[in-house]
Amino acid sequence: MRAVRHIAVNVFRESVRDKVLYSLVLFAVLLIATSYLLGQLTAGQDIKIIKDLGLASISVFGLLIAVFIGIGLVWKEVERRSIYSLLAKPISRAEFVLGKYAGLVLTLLVNIGVMTIAFYAVLVYLGWREIPEVREAWPAPAADPAMLGAIGLIAIELMLVTAIALFFSTFSSPFLSAVLTLGLWVVGHFNADLRDFEAVVESRPAVWLARTLYYVLPNFSAFDIKAQVVHAQPVGVGYLAQTAIYGLVYIALVLVGAAVVFSRRDFK
């Protein structure tokens, strides 16, 4: 466990030194802050638009961080040949993969935290500035704590994306890893269509294949409750817990897969 912690801390430090990361976070914070201006372009419901934009920013910029840093984690070590000196130490390959993953997740969570603080700061300001009559008409307060549920699920979704990016990076190039990760992320949003495949196709094998894929592929749409929290629709604790557990178990599966693939990889 100590080895995992050391690797994780190093990955975190390396990510913090990475200027691209700063630009992404800065851009996201700026976008959230300027969403106030965007709200002025519309007639009413500017608070809804600001919430939508804030949550989407956290999701999109988190995704970019997860994919574009995740795909380079293992590949960089191999490319720089530092993998040889690392593996010569008393560290198992599984610990190496787990440490890399934990480091990136730490980076990701810190970034999501920064973006969330910026997002809530804008919302608190808007809530404070608005007259009580308008505030009362909102379906939920500006800085609605229920949005933390949506941000929590976004975080778990991004942790899963990170695990998938890491998995692909254990055996393929960064470009291919990025394409495969983003491809899987897109497919994961169409999961519900695979379930209802028999409505459009008559072939039984095709229906079975679609149904199998429905269960096997990650269901990313399940992590999306942005619209519900923005409209102050109740999202049960049961749903949040069930989805979080689903995400964490899937992450464990992908990480085990990554460790197995990486353990079998020949660096000679």
Partner: protein, 294 residues
């Protein structure tokens, strides 16, 4: 240090050049693609935007508002609001709980030309879809009554919708009496005033409150016109001829001064027919259709 100075100088040059271009009118011409809408299928868009459907709905809503505003403010006589309904359709398909898109969208669609496309049928279709998506939103049922009342003058249907709206849990208690008043005296200025007063008091957006205040000022002007025409008739009965101008009525003491509307524009008197109208420059123009009581 040298680089910093160079950057400041170059930035100043860029700002100066841009200002110069603006002054000399050499800015790029408008692309003229404002009315283009590449995708019109809500179902397709819902899939294409993955988990960002709510954000995409916001983008289409902003486009709808901009399209409506730009068309309304355009100088041309033949104002086109041709993509207003498709934009609202996409907005509400992407986010079926986007209340304001239904409510404001219906007003945009129903407004008579040139202030809008004059399509209360599309406004009704939009609101009915909203009510199907959110059967518990009494405001949408109220708005349906409002469109039937104000734009179609169908007071029977309006009263039906106000009644339906009043029966939805959480509806305010003034909706049931409003249904009764609409049924009894729909089209009268009194019932119109009651309707707009309720909109003013219950509106949760500035835009709607501004609309309600404007309509109430129009109704005030209509009340003033009715009272002035009555005064002109009394003058004619007493003097034996119509007044040639307001000054005649001021001299006889029938009026204390030149009558003006709430926007400080004097009313116009037709000395041949004795009718009173708004000043052509008054922002209260055009007044709604005259009373059509049941």
């Amino acid at each position: 240090m040298k680089a910093a100075v160079a950057m400041v100088l170059l930035l100043a040059a860029v700002v100066g050049l841009q200002a110069l271009r603006e002054q000399s009118g050499t800015l790029a011409p408008q692309a003229g693609t404002g009315n283009l809408l590449y995708v019109r299928s809500g179902e397709f868009m819902t899939r294409a935007v993955l988990s960002f459907d709510s954000l995409a709905a916001d983008v289409y809503w902003i486009r709808a508002v901009q399209h409506y505003g730009r068309s309304k403010l355009s100088g041309g006589v033949d104002k086109k609001y041709d993509i207003l309904y498709p934009l609202l359709d996409l907005t509400t398909a992407l986010d079926p709980k986007f209340d304001i898109a239904y409510r404001f969208g219906a007003v945009f669609l129903a407004e008579r030309p040139p202030a809008g496309p004059g399509r209360p049928d599309q406004a009704i279709a939009l609101l009915e879809r909203g009510l199907r998506a959110q059967p518990g939103r009494w405001q949408l049922a109220q708005d349906l009554g409002f469109v039937h009342y104000w734009y179609l003058h169908d007071y029977l249907r309006a009263a039906e919708w106000f009644k339906r709206s009043s029966e939805i849990p959480g509806a305010p208690n003034w909706l049931a009496p409003l249904a009764a008043v609409t049924l009894a005296q729909g089209g009268s200025r009194g019932s119109s005033r009651q309707l707009w007063q309720q909109v003013l008091e219950s509106a949760d957006a500035d835009w709607l409150r501004v609309q309600a205040r404007f309509r109430l000022r129009q109704l005030d002007a209509m009340d003033q016109i009715a009272a002035l025409e009555q005064a002109v008739k009394l003058y004619e009965r007493r003097i034996g001829s119509l007044p040639m101008s307001w000054a005649d009525m001021v001299r006889t003491g029938d009026l204390r001064g030149i009558p003006v509307d709430s926007e400080r524009h004097p009313f116009e008197l037709n000395p041949f027919w004795g009718t009173v109208t708004l000043d052509r420059a008054s922002p209260l123009n055009p007044l709604p259709a005259p009373e059509q009581p049941r």
